[in-house]
């Protein structure tokens, strides 16, 4: 997994509902493809994505191989307080990436 990219609005205010855009580099190998020798390439996808804000879960996604490589997920959150996002991606090999991003308000 590559370093994730997060896009937050730069003019968020209290009370707004903001869109949070996330992207992480990952091959999202389906487990159905065969390599040159005819052997099945084992499945390896990001199967879980969790977004928390100040420790509270805002949004979660269970992903399956029908999600494209380099999964892009955008969701929304109602801003009730300043704070920090924590995003977690977990893939089939147990690899886990955690990214913390503060939400700056105007």
């Amino acid at each position: 997994m590559n370093k994730p990219r997060i896009r937050l609005p730069d003019n968020a205010r209290l009370g707004d509902i903001i869109e949070v855009k996330t992207l992480i580099g990952h091959v999202m190998e389906t487990g159905l493809r065969r390599d040159a020798d005819g052997k099945i390439v084992p499945r390896n996808i990001v199967h879980a994505f969790i977004a928390t804000f100040n420790g509270r879960v805002v949004f979660e996604a269970d992903l399956l191989p029908g999600i494209s490589a380099n999964p892009y997920i955008a969701f929304h959150m109602r801003v009730t307080t300043p704070g920090e996002f924590e995003f977690t991606w977990i893939d089939d090999t147990g690899n886990k990436i955690v990214e913390k991003t503060p939400l700056l308000l105007v």
């Binding site: 509902i17 903001i18 869109e19 855009k21 091959v27 389906t30 487990g31 159905l32 493809r33 065969r34 390599d35 040159a36 005819g38 099945i40 499945r43 804000f53 509270r56 879960v57 805002v58 949004f59 979660e60 996604a61 269970d62 992903l63 399956l64 191989p65 029908g66 999600i67 494209s68 490589a69 999964p71 892009y72 997920i73 955008a74 969701f75 929304h76 959150m77 109602r78 009730t80």
Partner: protein, 171 residues
């Protein structure tokens, strides 16, 4: 497997979807490709991946006796997707998203991929809006079904057809 599939593996090594396997295998079995269940059973890969369930069964098991209302969900997908590997999708479920009235989850089902479920998204009242965007893989032209579970245990459902020009991986 076939010459076609080996070629495809080399060319699309990084992005080739499992969807591709279905497209190519479908082509090989010809008219029978329309018969979903036998096709899935015939594929060891599909069995290993737990894909023996049809999308109808998956939805029926989940909804059970609960009320399912068609419509209301806005399902944004291209009418024609040139590249089945990356199809942009945005789903909006109208809801106040308060503690008592919110969208618990949103599931996206494919009717033409090997595995019916594409993703499950779970919202909270903190989400503010039950709107989510992602990019999905489609093996071939097909209907996509969005199924939202509301806080009161009822479901909303919306179906949209997508025509895929280059199915999965150039097939």
């Amino acid at each position: 497997m076939s010459e076609l599939q080996r070629t495809s593996n080399r060319r699309d090594f990084v992005i080739a979807a499992g969807a591709c396997a279905l497209t190519l295998t479908s082509a090989a079995v010809g008219p029978r490709a329309e018969e979903k269940a036998p096709l899935l059973d015939a594929l060891p890969e599909a069995k290993a991946a737990g894909a023996t369930e049809s999308w109808e069964t998956a939805i029926n098991v989940l909804t059970g006796d609960a009320k399912v209302v068609d419509g209301r969900i806005i399902l944004e997908l291209p009418e024609i997707a040139e590249n089945g590997n990356v199809v942009p999708m945005t789903v909006m479920v109208p809801s106040a998203m308060t503690a008592n009235d919110f969208v618990r989850s949103l599931r996206i089902y494919s009717t033409g991929n090997l595995r019916p479920l594409i993703a499950t998204f779970r919202f909270t009242p903190d989400s503010g809006k039950a709107v989510v965007s992602a990019r999905i893989r489609l093996a071939k032209s097909q209907d996509i079904v969005a199924l939202a579970e509301l806080g009161d245990g009822t479901f909303l459902r919306r179906t949209k057809n997508v025509k895929v020009t280059i199915g999965g991986c150039g097939g």
